[in-house]
C-alpha cells in the first residue's frame, strides 16, 4: 500500500508539471490555432536563464528565479509572438508549426552551444524533507510541486472564467472576428495568452529541473509527453490538459512499478492511440467543426 501511495503521489507531482506544459499547448492552440512544437524547449530554456543569473550575474537563487521568470516572459512570450507568430501566422498554420519546430531546434542548439552539452545541477525551490503519508515517505518537494501546479491551474481557470479580461481572452479564442466587433482588443488578448504560456513554461521549468537537471535536450521528452497529455485530455480545454498531464504522470509510474519499466516510454503513445480511436476529442475535450 505504501509503495502504491509513494508511486501514485510521485506520479501526480510529475503529472502536474506535465499539465502546466500541456496547458501551454492548449492556450497557444486557442490563441493562434497552431501547435507550438517548441513548447518542450520553452520549458528547458528558463532554467538556463536562472543559471545565467546565478553564475554570470552573481544573483542569489531567488533573485535569479525572478530574473529567469522575467526574461522568459519577454523572450518566450513577447518576442515569440512579435518576431515569429505575428509575421508567420498570415501565411498559414502549417508554416507556423514548421517555424516552431525550427525555433525548438534553435533553442536547443543555442543552449548546448552557450552552456555546454553536459547536464547542470539546478537548485530546488523547496527542501527535500520527507513526510509520512500512511506509511509512505513522501517528499515535501513533490507535494509542494503538486500543490503549486494545481493551484496555478485553478487560478488560471478562475481568471479565464471569472474576470472580464479572461472572458475577453476566451471570446478571442472562440471567434476573434466577432470578439473584435464586440469591442475586444483582440491583439492584446492574444498577447496575454502568449505571456501566460511563457509564465507557465517558466514555472514548469523551475519545478521539474531540480529532478531532470538542466540540460539542452530536456525539452524533447517533456514536449512530447505534454503534447500527448494535451491531446489525451482534450486539446481545446484547459481542464483537459490537466487531466491528461496527471493521467500520464500517474500511469507512467504505475506501469514502471507494476508492469514493465522497459516499455514505460511507450505508454503515452499507446494511450494516445487508444484515445484517438475511442474518443478523438480527448477525455475532457469537445468536438470542433471547421469549414474548409
Amino acid at each position: 500500500m505504501s509503495q502504491f501511495l509513494q508511486v501514485f503521489l510521485s506520479g501526480l507531482a510529475t503529472g502536474a508539471v506535465y499539465a502546466l506544459v500541456a496547458i501551454g499547448f492548449t492556450l497557444v492552440w486557442q490563441a493562434a490555432q497552431t501547435v507550438n512544437f517548441a513548447q518542450g524547449e520553452f520549458v528547458m530554456v528558463p532554467a538556463f536563464f536562472v543559471l545565467i543569473g546565478m553564475h554570470w550575474l552573481g544573483l542569489s537563487f531567488w533573485v535569479a528565479l525572478l530574473f529567469g521568470f522575467a526574461v522568459s516572459i519577454v523572450v518566450l512570450g513577447l518576442l515569440f509572438k512579435k518576431l515569429i507568430v505575428e509575421p508567420i501566422l498570415p501565411h498559414g498554420g502549417i508554416t507556423l508549426i514548421i517555424a516552431t519546430m525550427a525555433l525548438g531546434i534553435l533553442l536547443k542548439e543555442s543552449a548546448k552551444e552557450f552552456y555546454g552539452a553536459e547536464a547542470q545541477p539546478f537548485p530546488a525551490m523547496f527542501p527535500g524533507d520527507q513526510i509520512d503519508v500512511f506509511g509512505a515517505a513522501v517528499s515535501l518537494r513533490d507535494l509542494l510541486n503538486l500543490v503549486i501546479s494545481l493551484g496555478i491551474v485553478i487560478l488560471l481557470t478562475l481568471f479565464l472564467n471569472r474576470t472580464r479580461t479572461g472572458r475577453c481572452m476566451q471570446a478571442t479564442a472562440q471567434n476573434p472576428g466577432v470578439a473584435e466587433i464586440l469591442g475586444v482588443d483582440v491583439k492584446r488578448m492574444v498577447l496575454y495568452t502568449f505571456l501566460i504560456n511563457a509564465a507557465l513554461a517558466a514555472l514548469a521549468s523551475f519545478l521539474i529541473t531540480p529532478v531532470y537537471l538542466a540540460k539542452f535536450s530536456n525539452g524533447e521528452t517533456l514536449g512530447l509527453i505534454a503534447f500527448i497529455a494535451a491531446i489525451v485530455g482534450g486539446f481545446n480545454q484547459i481542464r483537459g490538459a490537466l487531466v491528461g498531464g496527471l493521467l500520464i504522470g500517474v500511469l507512467d509510474n504505475l506501469t514502471a512499478t507494476y508492469v514493465t519499466a522497459q516499455y514505460r516510454a511507450a505508454l503515452p503513445l499507446v494511450l494516445l492511440i487508444v484515445i484517438i480511436l475511442v474518443r478523438p476529442q480527448g477525455i475532457m475535450g469537445t468536438s470542433e467543426g471547421r469549414a474548409v
Binding site: 505504501s2 555546454g116 552539452a117 547536464a119 520527507q130 535536450s217 509510474n253 504505475l254 512499478t257 519499466a261
Partner: protein, 383 residues
C-alpha cells in the same frame, strides 16, 4: 608551345608541387591520434572528460619529444553518443591518417566501431567497460580501465564481508555498459550465496526514477548495486534521497564521480564505489601531479574518464616508441601481455598490465562520498 604558355605551365606545376611537398614534409613530421568520443548527447560528461584528459596527455607528450620524435596532433570527432555515427567517424579518422584511435567511452559505440579499427589494423584505446568488448577476439582494442568482469567482482568481498549483505538489489541502465555490469554482478552474487531480490532496469537518459526507487525500497535489500552512467546515477541518487532509501548504495566507477557529485549535490553523500582509478588517490604521486595539472588547465576536477583518456594517449606513446615504428600489427603483438611499471613509465600512473585480449589489470580503490567529495576508503589489489 609559346614562351608564355611554357611560363604558365611552369607556374602551375610549381604551384601544385610546392604545397604538396610542404604537406608531405609536414605529414612526415607529425603523427595523428584520432580522438573519437561522445562530445555531445547523453555521453557528453564522459566523452568531454575523456577528451580533456587526452588533450593534456598530448601536450605533455609533445613537450617530451612527441611519438617517435614526431609532434602529435589529435583531431577530434564527436560521435554525438550515437554508435552508428561513431563507426563512420572511426573510418573517417583512419582515412585521414591517424595511427591510433583514442575512444570511444560508451560501450554501445565501441562494440560497433572497433570492427572498423580492426579491419584497418589500427590500435584503439577505449574507455568502455562492457565485458563483451575484449571477448570478440579483436587484437587491436585495449582498455584504459578494467572491464566490468574485473571491476565488479572486486566488489563481492565488500558486499559479503564488509556490508554482510544477505539480499541485495541492482539498479542498472539498460545499455551495453549497464547490461554487462548487471550480468557480472548477478553471477557474482550467486557465487557468493547472496540473493538478488530486486532487479531494476532503467533506460538511458531516463529522467524520472520515482518508480525504480519505490520498487527497490519495497523489496528492502541490505544494499543496492547501482550501475548507471553519470547523469542517470545523479538522478537516481536524487530520487533515492527524496524517498529516504535507507540501505547503502554501492556502485562501480561512475557512482562517486565528480560530475555525479556535482549534479546530485548532497544526495551523493554516503554513496560508495569501486573505481579503477581516481583523481582523489593523491597518495599516488603520478595521480596527484595529473590532478593538479588537469585542474590548472581546465579549472575543474578530473573524473576517472579524464584519467582514462590520459592513460590511453600515454600508452600509445610508450608502446609506439617501444615498437620503434608506426605498425599496427607490431603494436598489437607488443600490447598483448605487456606490463608497464609506473616507476619506468610514470605517466601510466599505476603499474598496469594488458592480457592477450586487451583487458587491463591494475590496483584499484574503494571510495565513498563524504561531505561532497570522494574519499578513498580502501585499496583493492590488481586481479
Amino acid at each position: 608551345m609559346t614562351r608564355s604558355h611554357r611560363y604558365r605551365s611552369l607556374l602551375l606545376a610549381v604551384s601544385i608541387a610546392v604545397p604538396a611537398a610542404l604537406g608531405t614534409a609536414q605529414a612526415a613530421d607529425t603523427v595523428k591520434l584520432g580522438l573519437v568520443a561522445e562530445l555531445s548527447g547523453a555521453g557528453a560528461p564522459a566523452g568531454t572528460n575523456w577528451r580533456d584528459g587526452a588533450k593534456l596527455a598530448v601536450a605533455e607528450v609533445n613537450a617530451a619529444g612527441g611519438i617517435l620524435g614526431k609532434k602529435v596532433e589529435m583531431p577530434e570527432y564527436d560521435t554525438q553518443t550515437d554508435p552508428q555515427v561513431s563507426r563512420a567517424l572511426v573510418q573517417k579518422a583512419i582515412d585521414e591518417g591517424v595511427i591510433a584511435i583514442i575512444g570511444t567511452v560508451y560501450s554501445g559505440s565501441t562494440m560497433v566501431n572497433m570492427l572498423v579499427a580492426k579491419q584497418n589494423s589500427i590500435p584503439q584505446f577505449v574507455g568502455s567497460e562492457a565485458p563483451a568488448i575484449v571477448e570478440k577476439g579483436n587484437p587491436f582494442v585495449y582498455r584504459t580501465s578494467s572491464g566490468a568482469q574485473k571491476g565488479v567482482p572486486a566488489l563481492t568481498p565488500y558486499f559479503k564481508d564488509t556490508l554482510k549483505a544477505k539480499k541485495v538489489g541492482v539498479a542498472w541502465v539498460n545499455n551495453e555498459f549497464g547490461k554487462g555490469g548487471r550480468n557480472v554482478f548477478i553471477a557474482e552474487m550467486k557465487k557468493a550465496g547472496i540473493d538478488v531480490v530486486v532487479d531494476a532496469a532503467s533506460e538511458q537518459a531516463q529522467t524520472d526514477y520515482a518508480a525504480d526507487v519505490a520498487k527497490i525500497k519495497s523489496a528492502n535489500p541490505d544494499a543496492v548495486f547501482v550501475y548507471m552512467n553519470q547523469e542517470e546515477s545523479a538522478r537516481f541518487l536524487i530520487e533515492a534521497k527524496k524517498q529516504a532509501l535507507p540501505m547503502p548504495l554501492v556502485g562501480e566507477v561512475t557512482l562517486t564521480e565528480a560530475k555525479v557529485i556535482e549534479l546530485a549535490g548532497n544526495a551523493a553523500d554516503g554513496a560508495i564505489a569501486h573505481v579503477g582509478v581516481t583523481a582523489t588517490a593523491t597518495e599516488v604521486p603520478g595521480i596527484a601531479a595529473f590532478a593538479k595539472s588537469f585542474e590548472d588547465t581546465f579549472k575543474r576536477k578530473p573524473t576517472h574518464d579524464a584519467i582514462k583518456g590520459y592513460v590511453g594517449v600515454w600508452a600509445t606513446k610508450y608502446v609506439t616508441d617501444k615498437v620503434g615504428k608506426v605498425d599496427g600489427e607490431a603494436f598489437a603483438k607488443t600490447m598483448h601481455g605487456l606490463c608497464l611499471k609506473a616507476a619506468d613509465h610514470p605517466k601510466i600512473l599505476l603499474d598496469t598490465c594488458w592480457d592477450d585480449r586487451g583487458e587491463m589489470s591494475r590496483p584499484s580503490f574503494m571510495v565513498q562520498v563524504k561531505g561532497g567529495s570522494p574519499v578513498v576508503i580502501g585499496t583493492v589489489p590488481a586481479n
